[in-house]
């Protein structure tokens, strides 16, 4: 019977990690629904970007207040999780604070965890105030409907509770308090429990311990359903982000083939296509499967901070376009497609919906100035512009559905090599004017 807690712990741990693994598999499957894209170039630069941007938070600190608070929570999260290792070992072996035997260093470690826990708690409170009391504009844009708002607050509550449990656990640990090493913060919480019997303290300590580890496992499993997924995906996302100049848009290879063919005078335009010739690919994107997997990874990585939208010239001047919404819509649709596949034995059954029109409107797509402000602003190297461009490509090349004025512009380019109706032969007239 003595092993009951150990067994119980093992079951909780396996269940927690098992369900998470299941969802990670689903996540990878969904991301792989995207087209292939070659990101094998320049590995060293990619490692450098990941180290600087994800690990080093270099773009977060461009907004100093949010950046500083975020670093506290981030560093706290990473470092306090060393404690989880001890919790897991203790839980499985039935030991208590197995690392405490390392002596002084243990006190230093736990002491720094405690300080970080307090700092994280304070930072999270400030985050909550910024969202709910100060109501920073970017957290209250129209795409921030009830779920995104709640999601953000749930994460903050989770963190508050986890930090509190950690400190209470330490404060009610009679043995640990008696060591009087590393209890930098919890020693001030301990007096709150001064009237309690040792048994009561033990019960509180055990309860806090259990809720702390269960809380962490629940939080882990919450990630897949939440914007908080960025804590994991920021790393691959910054690694796979484009290394090209931001102004460089990809040239579609399928188009290059056709253009080369059209320009080649030796080709017989009426010849039957050679055996095995592939059908020309669909141009541009109308749904998530038409995007590439990096764009889909982008969508799962987005933490809806809204820095992109707050810098977008279209959004700033009241247009419907919000780069954040482009990413949120892409993720929502991708999830919908994923669920469709799950419930149809592994194949996607047409549901009469698509990313374009059902999620992202044409009005949004056409409002973009392609200025790259959103791409520059994103702290984790997401590129909403590439999705907008791919949807424009679909609208223009598959549907001929550009706004009338743009069609006029394109007709001019086709006919006289300029976006305005001037004759190409007049190109040098300025010289003599």
């Amino acid at each position: 019977m003595n092993y009951l807690p150990n067994v119980l712990f093992a079951i909780v741990l396996i269940a927690g990690i098992g369900y998470f693994t299941l969802n990670v598999k689903k996540l990878i499957r969904n991301i792989k629904l995207g087209n292939d894209v070659d990101v094998s170039d320049n590995k060293s630069q990619r490692w450098k970007n990941m180290t600087m941007i994800a690990l080093g938070q270099s773009k977060m600190v461009r907004r100093p207040v949010a950046g500083f608070l975020h670093i506290i929570v981030y560093v706290g999260f990473v470092i306090i999780n060393i404690e989880v290792l001890e919790i897991i070992i203790d839980g499985l072996l039935g030991t208590h604070r197995i690392f405490s035997s390392i002596g002084l260093l243990y006190g230093v470690l736990i002491g720094s965890f405690e300080i970080l826990a307090l700092l994280v708690f304070i930072a999270v409170i400030i985050f909550w105030i910024r969202r709910n009391i100060v109501k920073l504009n970017r957290f209250w844009k129209s795409e921030m409907t009830s779920w995104p708002k709640n999601d953000a607050n749930y994460i903050l509550y989770f963190e508050m509770v986890l930090m509190t449990l950690f400190l209470v656990m330490n404060a009610t640990d009679v043995h640990f308090q008696a060591m009087n090493s590393g209890n930098i913060i919890s020693q001030f919480i301990a007096p709150l429990f001064s009237g309690f019997t040792e048994t009561a303290l033990h019960t509180i300590e055990r309860t806090a311990w259990w809720f702390h580890i269960i809380g962490i496992l629940v939080f882990l499993n919450y990630l897949y359903f939440s914007k908080h997924l960025h804590i994991l995906l920021a790393f691959p996302n910054t690694f796979y982000a484009s290394l090209k100049p931001k102004g460089q848009f990809n040239n579609l290879e399928a188009v290059t083939k056709e253009v080369k063919m059209m320009m080649d005078p030796t080709i017989d335009p009426f010849a039957a296509p050679a055996e095995g010739t592939e059908m020309p690919a669909k141009f541009g994107a109308s749904d998530v499967q038409d995007l590439n997997w990096v764009q889909l990874l982008n969508a799962y990585t987005c933490t809806e901070c809204g820095r992109c939208t707050s810098e977008c010239p279209a959004n700033l001047t009241g247009k419907k376009l919000s780069p954040r919404k482009i990413m949120m819509d892409t993720r929502d649709r991708l999830e919908e497609v994923g669920k469709n596949i799950d419930s149809n034995k592994g194949t996607f059954v047409d549901d009469g919906k698509q990313l374009l029109d059902n999620y992202i409107t044409r009005e949004e797509i056409w409002a973009c100035t392609s200025c790259n402000a959103c791409v520059e602003a994103c702290p984790v190297s997401i590129n909403p512009l590439s999705i907008i461009l791919d949807m424009r490509r679909f609208l223009v090349m598959e549907q001929s559905a550009a706004p009338v004025e743009l069609n006029n512009m394109m007709t001019n380019i086709e006919n006289n090599g300029a976006p305005w109706p001037y004759n190409q032969m007049d190109r040098l007239n300025w010289k003599n004017e």
Partner: protein, 263 residues
């Protein structure tokens, strides 16, 4: 004035069996837009003054395809690109300078994959190199001490990380360079990019160029300097909308340098 401009074409050079030092890619705006033509001429005056052996393609030049590509028409873009590349490769072009950041970006970044490999410079970079080589000298002249702010074109700045060349040129004028609250990496678009120049804006509560002009007016410049014919149009319109034409001028960097010397 105009008769003083020396604007040889690539065909002229070819006829003499010579290669110019650089091809000046004028662009559609620079060729046809009345305001942008002044920028083109100002730049040519500087090229002439510095005795740069340059040439233009003239009637052999055609739209780079930038607005078509940003509007989503990859076909039209590549048709334009392949045609232009054929012309330029036939002339064995090695180096291009252009006063339009959109042409600059497209030629520099999107042509290589299609077979067009050139060294491409924005005219502010080119002017800066002329200055540092001592081929051109600039004195403050009439802009000395003036409050000048530079509006970063998206396709020069964020798109290609060119922020310093235009600013260096302004400081050469001994002017007071002042920055808007959004500048360099966080510069706010004028509203013309991504083919927006050629269509009405979607419904909103303000025009982008007015927003940007207001940002500029906040720091009370005497001159808003630009490095893009489209930004120039947008900012000029913004100044008109704010009825500030008398106080604030919108001028391209090439015009500033040329005017400073009364060219």
């Amino acid at each position: 004035m105009s008769e003083l401009l020396n604007v040889p074409t690539m065909a002229d050079f070819m006829a003499q069996g010579k290669q110019p030092e650089v091809l000046f890619w004028v662009g559609c705006a620079g060729s046809f837009d009345d305001r942008a033509k002044k920028i083109t001429k100002a730049f040519v005056k500087l090229l002439n003054k510095a005795q740069v052996e340059f040439a233009v393609l003239g009637t052999e030049e055609s739209c780079t395809g930038d607005p078509a590509k940003r509007a989503g028409n990859e076909f039209l873009f590549q048709m334009q690109a392949v045609t232009n590349i054929e012309v330029m490769n036939a002339y064995e072009i090695k180096k291009i300078v252009t006063a339009c950041p959109h042409c600059f970006n497209t030629l520099k970044n999107e042509y290589p994959q299609l077979g067009g490999n050139y060294e491409v410079m924005h005219h502010t970079e080119f002017l800066k190199s002329l200055l540092s080589e001592g081929r051109l000298t600039v004195e403050g002249g009439k802009f000395k001490g003036k409050r000048i702010t530079f509006h970063d074109p998206c396709y020069l700045g964020r798109a290609n990380n060119v922020y310093e060349a235009p600013r260096d040129l302004i400081s050469k004028l001994e002017a007071e360079l002042i920055e808007m609250k959004n500048c360099k990496k966080t510069g706010l678009c004028c509203g013309a990019g991504g083919a927006q120049m050629f269509k009405d804006a979607e419904k909103g509560d303000k025009e982008v160029n007015v927003e940007r002009t207001e940002q500029a007016l906040e720091i009370q410049p005497e001159i808003i300097a630009t490095g893009c014919p489209f930004c120039n149009t947008m900012m000029t319109d913004g100044i008109k909308a704010k009825e500030k034409e008398d106080q604030v001028k919108v001028l391209d960097i090439a015009e500033l340098i040329a005017n400073a010397q009364d060219l």
